[in-house]
């Protein structure tokens, strides 16, 4: 029986619209639930496109992506939204917070997608997560926060609904060196504590070192490698 965070990729082929030449292809990729995978590669190799495909944000030309037994390619657009909402937490390089909302409201935002009123327990979880990522004064608008603080909020937002999978696209790339280490550590620790599968697209050696496995996307194929 597979966990909700199990990943199985088969015969994945990705090409840009209008191009016959594939961007990359992946014959097989498997990751058990609760493990972490670092995805590396040079710029333009297709890391973000792979990230989008694995998150159900973009559709591959062919192949199958199965998360926890669910073939996400078979889901409708709204089915994918629902699936992401229930099972996936996303962290972006540029945070993508809603600027007019406070820290706390940003963290609680995913909960507004499927309910009108937020339960006190959920609000408490949001406050606990903000505390865990080292933030206080939760009513501050996110527009007033530093980049490091914003990424902490984004991380708390990704973990709010206790997803089985957390995916992060260059989560530390836009941060200064001090914050890179702190955010990288927080990401790995909090996701591990939750028992979720973690997929990170990153160039950062330090972050790749924290992953259970690492793959590199190069010349249209995925190669496993170890970071030393």
């Amino acid at each position: 029986m597979s966990g909700k965070g199990d990943l199985h990729v088969r015969d994945l082929l990705v090409r840009f619209v209008g191009q016959s030449h594939p961007l990359f292809s992946i014959a097989a990729l498997d990751l058990p639930s609760g493990c972490s995978l670092g995805i590396s590669g040079i710029s333009g190799a297709g890391k973000t496109t792979l990230f989008h495909c694995l998150a159900g944000i973009a559709r591959p030309a062919s192949g199958q992506i199965e998360w926890g037994g669910t073939d996400i390619g078979a889901l409708s657009a709204d089915g994918l939204c629902r699936w992401r909402h229930r099972h996936l937490g996303l962290v972006f390089q540029d945070f993508h917070l809603v600027e007019g909302l406070s820290m706390l409201d940003n963290v609680l935002l995913p909960a507004c997608f499927d309910r009108w009123k937020l339960a006190p327990a959920l609000q408490q979880r949001a406050r606990d997560l903000l505390t865990a990522v080292g933030l206080s004064a939760w009513d501050r608008l996110t527009a007033l926060l530093s980049r490091g603080e914003r990424q902490r909020v984004a991380l708390a937002r990704a973990l709010l609904l206790q997803p089985a999978i957390v995916m992060a696209d260059e989560p530390t790339a836009s941060l200064d060196p001090d914050h890179r280490t702190q955010i990288g550590d927080l990401l790995v620790e909090l996701v591990r504590a939750q028992g979720a599968t973690l997929l990170v697209v990153t160039h950062e050696q330090e972050l790749l070192l924290r992953m259970d496995r690492c793959v590199r996307l190069a010349q249209g194929a995925l190669q496993e490698f170890s970071v030393s």
């Binding site: 989008h52 998150a55 939204c81 993508h96 007019g100 409201d105 935002l109 499927d114 527009a143």
Partner: protein, 413 residues
């Protein structure tokens, strides 16, 4: 049943973040709606206000000339140089079949700008249907009944000044023994009529004639009498006679009878009808202009909002990436547009109503008749139409955002 999601946190955040665009949108909508409301409600107020003033004049008889001038002079107390009716016609009108009363309407004097109108008691009481709120109707020479808007207390006395309305005309009175010697005592005050007659002072016509050195309508033996019956040989000319017929049939018969080479007879309502037809055309034109303006403003506002939404496409793509359904994002955009349009429309109704009232007060101070502003079905349809149309058109930006692929939105900036 509770909704399945809550888009308002994002709606509120968007409006706060783009508050300048939101305010400009609301103000543009409000000004556009206010213009439409003001035009339509003012036209109606003018029609109702002017019609109310004419209620007391079923049939108006005057010397041949301009019908409009006769109505303006007698009904709206805007005296103009109109020819006088021969005095004997007043006696004839009073004794005609089907006439409840035939009241002379004579001007020439004022007190501190208030027109002094010479008439008979039946006209003051509108044939017994109008009771003074204070005091009584005049019963003898030298007594006056004031309109609700005249600042003279019961028992107060005053002297008339020669001239019509304008205090500057008083200069003509100085050294005029007829005016200097005349005194009136206020004996009654009429209830508010919400027209120019609230500012008038009504006195026996015999006094007006007397002050101007004219025959007073009665033989020497009856100099202290007021009102009909008249002595035909002693009657002076009058600018107008207001006739109260006893029935609609009588009104039409009397109008036909009094259309002679020596007199014209008209229903003021008919003259007003011509005016309303002109006003109606103007209103139609203004309404078209107002609606066109609204359509243009709504189109411009929606274009601005659409550009704003497309500029924020990334935010909507992120919302969908982190689990928001397409319906959620659609609702966020649609609610934002509808909120702005509805707020603009509500503010516009308020501004239009306030502006229209301000204009009415100014018109009342200038022309004397009240123009009560009430919002009617036309305005409701205008505003509802705007909101409904806006709500439907708002689906366009919502649909565009709804349709955009998530990955495209995430990487397009």
């Amino acid at each position: 049943m509770m909704p399945r999601f809550n888009p308002f946190p994002v709606v509120g955040a968007d409006l706060r973040r783009n508050r300048l665009l939101a305010w400009v949108t609301v103000l543009l909508m409000a000004l556009s709606v206010a213009t439409g409301i003001a035009v339509i409600s003012q036209e109606r107020a003018l029609r109702q206000g002017s019609a109310r003033a004419a209620d007391d004049f079923d049939l108006l008889v005057g010397a041949p000339g301009s019908n409009t001038q006769l109505v303006l002079t007698a009904v709206y107390l805007r005296p103009q140089a109109i020819p006088l009716l021969d005095g004997d016609l007043l006696a004839k009108a009073g004794s005609a079949a089907g006439v409840k009363y035939a009241a002379p309407i004579a001007f020439g004097d004022n007190w501190q700008g208030h027109a002094i109108v010479g008439t008979i008691a039946d006209f003051v009481s509108r044939g017994g249907t109008l009771q003074p709120t204070q005091g009584r109707i005049f019963q003898r020479r030298g007594e006056a009944v004031v309109g609700a808007g005249v600042a003279l207390a019961i028992g107060a006395t005053f002297s008339p000044a020669h001239g019509l309305h304008l205090p500057a005309d008083d200069e003509a009175t100085h050294g005029d023994p007829g005016h200097d010697a005349a005194h009136y005592t206020v004996v009654g005050r009429l209830p508010p009529r919400e027209n120019i007659w609230d500012t008038a002072i009504l006195v026996p016509i015999e006094d007006v004639w007397s002050v101007h050195g004219l025959s007073i309508g009665h033989a020497a033996s009856g100099v202290s009498r007021i009102g009909p019956p008249w002595d035909a040989g002693h009657l002076s000319g009058v600018p107008a006679i207001a006739i109260k017929p006893d029935s609609v049939a009588s009104a039409y018969r009397l109008r036909a009878q009094w259309r002679t080479p020596r007199s014209v007879a008209l229903f003021p309502a008919e003259v007003l009808n011509d005016l309303y037809l002109t006003l109606g055309n103007v209103r139609d034109l203004m309404s078209v202009l107002a609606i066109t303006t609204e359509v243009l403003v709504v189109a411009a506002v929606l274009m601005a909002l659409l550009v704003g939404f497309l500029a924020r496409q990334r935010q909507f793509s992120v919302l969908r990436a982190i689990g928001a359904s397409r319906l959620y994002v659609f609702c966020v955009v649609w609610i934002e547009v509808v909120l702005l349009i509805t707020t603009g429309a509500a503010l516009g109704v308020m501004l239009g109503w306030l502006g229209s009232n301000g204009l009415s007060h100014w018109m009342q101070s200038q022309f004397g008749f009240a123009m009560p502003v009430r919002l009617g079905a036309t305005e409701e349809v205008l505003v509802a139409g705007l909101i409904v149309t806006g709500s439907i058109v708002a689906t366009l930006p919502a649909w565009l955002v709804f349709k955009r692929p998530i990955a495209e939105g995430l990487v397009s900036h």
